[in-house]
């Protein structure tokens, strides 16, 4: 473990869960050691005109390793994350082999141990994510896994989901669900609506997501378990979650940037870059997701970063794999669509991207208050910088970016992970 020189982040506007202030921060040996005015240290990081925030935390990224290293590796994914301001990422378990036992957990954590982003992994709920048999959650929890999901698919069987909830709540871990009822979504490749009819593509109705949200809320009420809903995409889902929260249930939920930015109309040229599960929905769904993020009934923004090799995304639309990149663009999209294009404040966006996801994932070193003694996992954001998203030049090994040509504002200038400046002036340092 190399030691990094004492560093001062100068002239930034500090924002965290407690409020906002303009100050300098000194970091030494991986921790914040001083906050004040006119401070100095050996290494100076310029934050003039910038926001200094606890590092972003992504609850949902596909790092593809082990199994699909041509699309992404843990190292390249970590780099993309750090460039996007993330100091921690929760990897999804739909690798090959799936992360469904202690040995694969160990492999993933080992691959990520020296990366410039703090890599955590989720574990599968069922063996092989096949939805038939419970996976050994206890042995994975012993290695630090706090969130379990079969992501890529939802747990279809009601009884099995009930048992999983009971078992998980006994362990004190959280279950997360990719809500999709396969019998309604099988063979479909986009949202069922006006566009799917016009394009001649099989579509899944909003209900294929909402039915599972309803079921899991009911089962959570039955079992008392904590449930986290992944990548919510419909107005109906947002309403169901708001209602459950109003009744005092412990449910949390996330939404992905593409679900508050893009609609099913994007599929009109049959570019499979726009194919994703759950699919891009209608403009009124987008508005509902934005509103739910604003009032907090959707707690967090999670990227669902899903890299795919170009030849896979060039397959016919119905055959191509679903998913789009997100780690390097999420913050800018949030500032552009939710602050400028909505009614959220930058602080509310940072809450949804840093301290609330950190709390959901139980990550003690991330999303903390900017205070003396906390781990130095921070990002420095230039909120005024305008830029245009393009598919080339990203750190990901893949190029399936659905926002090419989009003008956005907000760029991460520096990222600090456990006291190390891993991104400086928009460039990864290693």
């Amino acid at each position: 473990m190399t030691t990094h020189p004492p560093t001062v982040i100068k002239g930034g506007r500090l924002i965290d869960a407690s409020g906002e202030m303009t100050a300098d921060i000194i970091i030494s040996e991986g921790q914040i050691v001083a906050i004040g005015q006119n401070l100095d240290a050996e290494l100076v990081v310029d934050a003039a005109g910038c926001i200094v925030s606890p590092g972003l935390v992504d609850l949902h990224a596909h790092l593809r390793q082990p199994g699909k290293e041509e699309a992404e590796t843990i190292e390249s994914g970590a780099r993309a994350a750090a460039l996007g301001g993330y100091t921690a990422v929760l990897a999804m378990p739909n690798t090959t082999p799936a992360v469904d036992c202690a040995s694969v957990v160990r492999e993933v954590l080992s691959l990520g141990s020296d990366s410039i982003c703090d890599i955590h992994t989720s574990g599968a709920i069922t063996v092989g994510r096949a939805g038939e048999q419970l996976a050994p959650m206890a042995e994975m929890a012993a290695l630090g896994v706090r969130i379990f999901t079969d992501d890529g698919t939802g747990v279809q069987d009601d009884r099995l989901m009930r048992r999983a909830m009971e078992y998980a709540s006994g362990l004190g871990v959280t279950l997360a669900q990719h809500c999709e009822v396969n019998s309604l979504s099988e063979g479909t490749c986009m949202h069922e609506g006006e566009w799917s009819a016009r394009l001649g593509l099989a579509g899944q109705p909003s209900e294929s997501e909402e039915l599972m949200v309803m079921r899991d809320i009911a089962l959570a009420r039955l079992t008392g378990a904590k449930i986290h809903f992944q990548h919510m995409s419909t107005a109906g889902s947002a309403a169901l979650i708001a209602a459950a929260k109003a009744k005092g249930m412990t449910v949390t939920a996330e939404a992905a940037p593409h679900h508050f930015t893009l609609t099913d109309a994007c599929c009109k040229d049959y570019d499979a870059t726009f194919k994703v599960h759950p699919p891009l929905r209608t403009q009124s769904d987008v508005e509902a997701i934005k509103a739910a993020l604003r009032v907090g009934s959707l707690d967090a923004i999670a990227t669902d970063h899903a890299p795919h090799a170009p030849e896979d995304k060039e397959l016919p639309f119905d055959q191509a794999p679903p998913g789009m990149l997100g780690l390097e663009y999420a913050l800018a999209l949030a500032f552009t669509e939710l602050v400028d294009g909505g009614e959220m404040s930058e602080t509310q966006v940072l809450a949804a991207m840093s301290w609330r996801p950190a709390a959901i994932a139980g990550m003690k070193n991330h999303g903390q208050l900017l205070a003396v003694g906390t781990a130095a996992n921070l990002c420095v954001i230039d909120p005024a910088q305008r830029w245009v998203i393009d598919a080339t030049g990203g750190a990901s090994l893949s190029r399936n970016v659905p926002y090419v040509g989009k003008e956005v504002r907000g760029k991460v200038r520096h990222t600090m992970q456990f006291g190390e400046v891993v991104v400086h002036d928009g460039k990864a340092q290693r």
Partner: protein
């Protein structure tokens, strides 16, 4: 002295026919009028004109259809074009090779147009991004089958004259039918009123947004139509829980003898083929003189010649509006080296 005028051939400028929505009403009318010319060519002792001599038209049929492929091949050969055929049945389309690699390999051989049929919607649109050749959609998944719609409109007009104000019923599995989508577009573009008749399971969920009337009652609709257009009812729909049984389907939606008897005088019966006799159409009804199915097939070659000529010869850009869609009739021109026209043509062509 005559500057050789070449048309700019970059992907974004190549004219394609991917969907009937690529054509406005005027273009549809022009294509139908042009079809008359090729019907006449087809009747000659030597049914061939040299119009597309030296051009290469490739058939890329990822989904089998001998009939449609031969129709396109004949259409191209009538224009003296050279043809190449790749069909999945003859396995000259290698498994595992991506569509993109296939088209880029073929294009390297020098092609002017590629006719594509694929079981997935949208593949012709994707191919159009990867080639400078003109792309013609010969049927993609459930999306569109534009040349079918054109030959259907041509056949209908040859019997009924204008379709303005006519009532056309399209009966059957609308949800999965590319023919239905193309035909709804072309018939409404030509001024007809379209009613789709099908059980709700065979209608797209968003059918209310389409410019059509919807009915579940064929008996009510049948006496009011000028054309009853029947779609194939496929066996596979049974396993997908879309209709309980073929028998039930035929009872409510089949064109039985009794229903055909109740059609108006002069009303036509049409079908894209191949027919399931006894299912969507009674065998005896398919042989009536008002059933013009074989005419649809024979008009297919002339329509496809018209499309090929329009895309490769007439210089009219169909899907992208051209800067220079001047049409010039033969007798007005002193052909190639007329300086007046060369000059006015080349200045517009040179715009990048």
């Amino acid at each position: 002295m005559s500057t050789k005028v070449t048309s700019s051939r970059t992907s974004s400028n190549s004219p394609h026919l991917l969907s009937i929505t690529d054509l406005d009403r005027e273009e549809i009318e022009d294509l139908l009028k042009l079809t008359d010319t090729f019907v006449e060519v087809g009747r000659r002792p030597i049914p061939k004109v040299p119009a597309l001599r030296g051009r290469t038209v490739v058939m890329l049929f990822f989904e089998d259809s001998t009939r449609t492929r031969l129709s396109f091949e004949t259409a191209a050969k009538r224009l003296s074009a050279d043809t190449m055929s790749f069909a999945v049945s003859s396995s000259s389309l290698s498994k595992g090779e991506s569509v993109r690699d296939t088209i880029e390999t073929i294009q390297a051989m020098g092609i002017d147009a590629v006719v594509v049929r694929h079981k997935s919607s949208g593949v012709p649109a994707q191919i159009a991004r990867w080639t400078t050749a003109s792309v013609i959609n010969a049927g993609d998944g459930c999306h569109q089958h534009p040349t079918q719609a054109l030959l259907d409109a041509y056949t209908a007009r040859s019997h009924l004259g204008s379709l303005e104000g006519r009532h056309i019923a399209i009966v059957g599995d609308i949800k999965h039918s590319r023919v239905a989508r193309s035909n709804i577009e072309i018939f409404t573009a030509l001024g007809a009123q379209v009613t789709v008749v099908a059980p709700r399971t065979l209608l797209p969920a968003a059918v209310a947004t389409w410019p059509v009337e919807v009915s579940q009652n064929l008996d009510e609709v049948i006496p009011t139509v000028d054309i009853c257009y029947l779609l194939r009812m496929q066996q596979e729909r049974m396993t997908e829980a879309l209709v309980p049984s073929l028998r039930e389907y035929t009872k409510s939606y089949g064109l039985t003898s009794a229903r055909a008897d109740r059609m108006a005088e002069g009303a036509l019966i049409m079908h894209p083929g191949p027919m399931n006799r006894g299912v969507e159409i009674a065998s005896e009804v398919a042989d009536r003189p008002t059933a013009v199915i074989t005419e649809q097939v024979s008009n297919g070659v002339a329509v496809r010649s018209a499309v090929l000529f329009m895309l490769l010869g007439a210089g009219r850009h169909l899907s992208i509006s051209a800067q220079n869609d001047d049409l010039v009739s033969a007798s007005q021109l002193g052909m190639r080296s007329d300086p007046v026209l060369t000059e006015s043509f080349s200045t517009t062509e040179e715009t990048p």
